[in-house]
Amino acid sequence: MTRRRGAPGTALRKAVLAVVGAVFAVPIAAMVAFSLRSADGTGHDLGHWTALAAPENERAYRSLVEGVTNSLVLAAVTAVLVLVLLVPTMVVVHLRYPALVRPLEFVCLVPVTVPAIVLVVGLAPVYSVVSRVAGSGAWTLALAYGVTVLPYAHRAVQADLAATDLRTLTEAARTLGSGGVATLLHVVVPSLRRGLLAAAFITVAVVLGEYTIASLLNRVTLQTSLVQVSRSDPFAAVILALLALLLAFLLLAVVGRVGSAGAGRPVLPGRDVAATAPAPARKALS
């Protein structure tokens, strides 16, 4: 491919990326530098990092431990809930009721239009009923989180679903005598492994970062305990925020490398064209 004269070359584009990347790294670097400040304000040391593990601070950080535990449990429960509820539905709709594909997508995209702060206004009465039935542990939030996660999970699974010839596979299984549930478990799930994994990891990332619903429903999670701790110890809050961001980044990086087509993309109405189009390396603006 001939280089056109005057075309901004690869070098310029990479330079632009480097500059923007450096600017975006500033807050992260600032968080690290902030957390390394020594207690008396001069110089730097690991004092705040080691204080997190110190036994004498155990009482102060108790809510943090509770928040982290609750969030991890919530993430697991939400991932299971979403996968168990959404995937069979999507598969059945994809295979049996193609007319419902669009409505299902619409339903899964409603949480994008109805933000969490609006949803939580209506969740309080629902949750007083939920509390009566299932207790008031933080894990009950999984029911609300499943809804907020729907757009992302649907997107991840849909991309994989579109790229897999599920119809032939299930028909083959059926002709070989497999029942519905067995087909689901032994044929569908392994074929959609990437999409399911992507959905699960994205669910975990969303749940770990969710604050709105947890705080206004008075439950203790990682984010609400971070805010509470920041009032008395901003350093611990910054350290844990850094670690949480890193964890979410690692989760999504793994998903991205494992190669699911729909992973990491946000949720948008409209067809997932990019996932279905063939994707060789492109040089669009050379």
Binding site: A124, Y127, S128, S131, R132, V133, G135, S136, G179, G180, L217, N218, V220, Q228, S230, R231, S232, D233, P234
Partner: protein, 375 residues
């Protein structure tokens, strides 16, 4: 494939779910039967005396409290003292929520064993939610003046503070009068504890400014305009002061209750934090103690009431700089902690307390004008 298998599975799940629901209902019913008498007791005598109350409370074993930060009016020490005296574990939930959120939590968790047992509320929220409270009169009921308690025992005042200005003596000079704070030494340094349209302590700061600056308890607009002047001078800091910001020096001047400012001195990371109750009209506001009508641990809740109104807890309030409601009675009986009283100073005789109507009028005024005043 026939539809019977999935139907059977669904039926099994339904039975399981109903069974679980039934179990939890049965448990709840059982628990209610055991402490049924405690849930309706209006005084210790109804249960057969203090010892019976203590026994019933210790049988319950736990107490859920909410919105009681350790450094607020010595609640940390009060909770520790309660746990030390009785064999009851105190679960201190959500220390930073507002009074309104305490009621919301009680509503959301109604019937659960994590619902709050007792409340410590601002007056406005108390008077708006009387059905949420169980009527209970503590042993020392008669020590308390009539305007500090509900006639039926739904609520009772527990302590009050005085509105004060806490300041870092190393960073700023001592403010002698309110208008000193408008000076240039306080540029970008003066904060109040919360948003007056949301938090009681902040609303009280504005009311106090009104009283100091020529307004009255009926009309706090003078306070709003004074804070407007503060903002125009560039002295107003729209940050929430927390122990962290005080220790780091971000908020060198804080309007807050005297007991909070006094507690901040202990936590101030080496700074010389002082509390100034400015001369002139003093403003106080009693908080209200109440028992949740749906308390999961009714006997423990009532025992907590008794404890709060006992000399021990009232003196702990005093040690933190808060004036307990039984101060007059304790002084007369000689049970007051004289050292603490001397350290804090006598309660000023002309402390202004806003009535319900005045509080409502002030809230309405703040809701309409605060945001504009501070820009």
């Amino acid at each position: 494939m026939t539809p019977t298998r999935p139907l059977a599975a669904a039926a099994a799940l339904t039975v399981l779910a109903l069974g679980l629901a039934g179990c939890t209902a049965a448990d709840a019913a059982g628990a209610d039967a055991a402490s049924g008498t405690a849930a309706t007791a209006t005084s210790a005598e109804d249960l057969g005396g203090m010892d019976a109350l203590i026994a019933a409370a210790e049988a319950e074993g736990e107490l859920n409290v909410i919105a009681l930060p350790d450094t607020w009016a010595n609640y940390g020490k009060i909770i520790d003292a309660f746990e030390a005296e009785y064999d009851i574990t105190v679960n201190s939930d959500s220390p930073d929520v507002s009074s309104a959120e305490e009621i919301t939590a009680a509503e959301n968790l109604a019937g659960q064993d994590t619902a709050p047992d007792v409340f410590d509320l601002g007056s406005a929220v108390t008077l708006a939610n009387l059905d949420q409270f169980a009527k209970y009169k503590v042993a020392t009921w008669d020590d308390i003046a009539d305007d500090h308690k509900d006639a039926d025992g739904a609520w009772v005042h527990d302590y009050t503070g005085l509105m004060s200005v806490g300041y870092d003596a190393d960073a700023v000079p001592e403010p002698g009068t309110l208008d000193d704070l408008l000076g240039s030494e306080y540029r970008g340094k003066v904060a109040i504890n919360g948003d007056p349209t949301q938090a009681g302590a902040a609303a009280a700061a504005v009311q106090w400014a009104a009283l100091q600056d020529g307004g009255s308890a009926d009309d706090v607009s003078a306070g709003v305009s004074w804070f407007g002047e503060l903002a125009d001078a560039g002295n107003f800091l729209p940050t929430d002061p927390t122990p962290a910001t005080i220790a780091s020096g971000e908020t060198p001047v804080v309007f807050d209750w005297s007991y909070n400012n006094l507690a901040a001195a202990a936590d101030a990371g080496g700074r010389d934090w002082r509390t100034a109750v400015l001369p002139g009209t003093a403003l106080g506001s009693y908080y209200n103690q109440a028992v949740n009508v749906d308390a999961p641990h009714p006997a423990a809740a009532r025992l907590w009431q008794e404890f709060i109104m006992s000399d021990e807890a009232q003196n702990l309030y005093l040690a933190a700089g808060a004036y307990p409601v039984r101060l007059a009675a304790m002084t007369e009986a000689g049970t007051v902690d004289q050292g603490a009283l001397d350290a804090v100073g006598e309660q000023p005789a002309d402390t202004v307390q806003l009535t319900t109507e005045q509080t409502e009028a002030a809230s309405a005024l703040l809701a309409g004008t605060w945001a504009q005043a501070i820009g």
